[in-house]
Amino acid sequence: MTEQVQGHTTYHIHLGDLFDGPMDLLVHLVRKNEVDLYDIPIALIAEQYLEYIKLMKVMNIDVAGNFLVMAATLAHIKSRMLLPVQEEQEDEEDPRMEIVRPLEEYLQLKYAAEDLAHRDRLGWDVFIRGTDEISESAGEEPRDFVQVSLFELMDAFQRIIKRVSPEHFLNITADTISVKSKILEIADILEQKGSVTFEELFEKQATKGQIIVTFLAVLEMARTQVIRIMQHVKSGIIRIFNG
């Protein structure tokens, strides 16, 4: 998820950035071969498409299922193109339309997205008047932050565990009551400060049990959208915000 969101941000290497999806790959191929969108040489494009998928697999890029669906569609169109056109079928639609229509729509929206991106964006090209007021944290958009995936959160947690104690944590269970009261505690902190770094939350937790309880509380709060867990694009620091 986050891979797609982060797009141009630096810290995440995302091989899939080459092509966001099967539609992008198709657009790329049509463009690269300089063929007419309305007269696509389907055999050539289908063949090249499969080559790309093979290459992605070789490079250990996780090829999503929708790439394969598109490959099947292309193969199907190709086979239909090979069938001899019979008299009574002449007014039948060009099988390629199955792919041309969505491509057309997709391209149109890509143009639209480009147009939007070229407008004078607030906070980027134009600015409104600055105020020296302390902005409220609730609802304020932390623009330098991106959402964190569960895996990144677990990485951060592992770092904390290692720092606090090298032992294993496996046989500690957290009871519901302490998780609930920890949730309230975190909510209190957030109410006062608006946001807190992930690490700060664990600073005063001496025992393994407390650390686990805190982590579970954070997970639960994130799951129920009481909080938002974001990562600073540049520093990589994970910060927790009021939902």
């Binding site: 998820m1 969101v5 141009h8 966001d20 539609m23 657009v27 391209l107 607030l122 090209d125």
Partner: protein
């Protein structure tokens, strides 16, 4: 109120979001929309003719003073926090929602050909899009649309201000720059 124009200007300076004529009307407790409109028009004109560092933008159903885009390289330096760059995927998703709203996640994903849940969540967080409601379909899927913030962000008066979708047949060889 003989200095109506200056008062409106001071309101525009203080406001944190675009001010509609109605809003100005209710604050000033005047009856006449026309006077407000003409004061706004004069302000806009003055900012132009005097080559001020800002201009009056008609955006998101209201008026807002904004710095000139041609000075972006300077104004950006004042702002220490840079806004997150919207990724290409995010821009595409926003465009789809803007043009196709009300739209289902499944429609978006069908168009883009990829899972878009993560991007939708981010766009929701940023307040660019919102959930308009739920569709009366199995699973009651959520219906998405753009938010007022979308208009503000992309300098649009209203949704009617969105450029028409291009006719691809007319474009010939022109491809979107960022298509690969």
């Amino acid at each position: 109120m003989d200095n109506l124009k200056a008062i409106i200007e001071s309101l525009l300076f203080v406001a944190e979001s675009p001010l509609s004529v109605d809003k100005i009307k209710s604050i000033l407790e005047v009856e006449d929309r026309k006077t407000i409109r003409s004061a706004l028009a004069r302000l806009a004109e003055e900012y132009e003719s005097e080559k001020r560092g800002f201009f009056l933008s008609e955006v998101a159903g209201g008026y807002q003073v904004r710095t000139r885009p041609e000075y972006r390289n300077w104004t950006r330096r004042i702002k220490q926090t840079r806004p997150a760059r919207l990724s290409r995927a995010a821009m595409e998703t926003v465009a789809i929602i803007a043009y196709k709203q009300p739209v289902l996640r499944s429609d978006i994903e069908h168009l883009r050909g990829v899972d878009s849940g993560g991007i939708l969540r981010t766009l929701l967080e940023w307040g660019i899009i919102r959930v308009l409601g739920r569709k009366d379909l199995p699973g009651r899927p959520m219906v998405y649309g753009t938010n007022k913030r979308f208009l503000e962000l992309f300098d649009l008066k209203d949704l009617g201000d969105l450029p028409l979708l291009k006719d691809l047949q007319d474009l010939g060889e022109a491809w979107p720059n960022d298509s690969t």
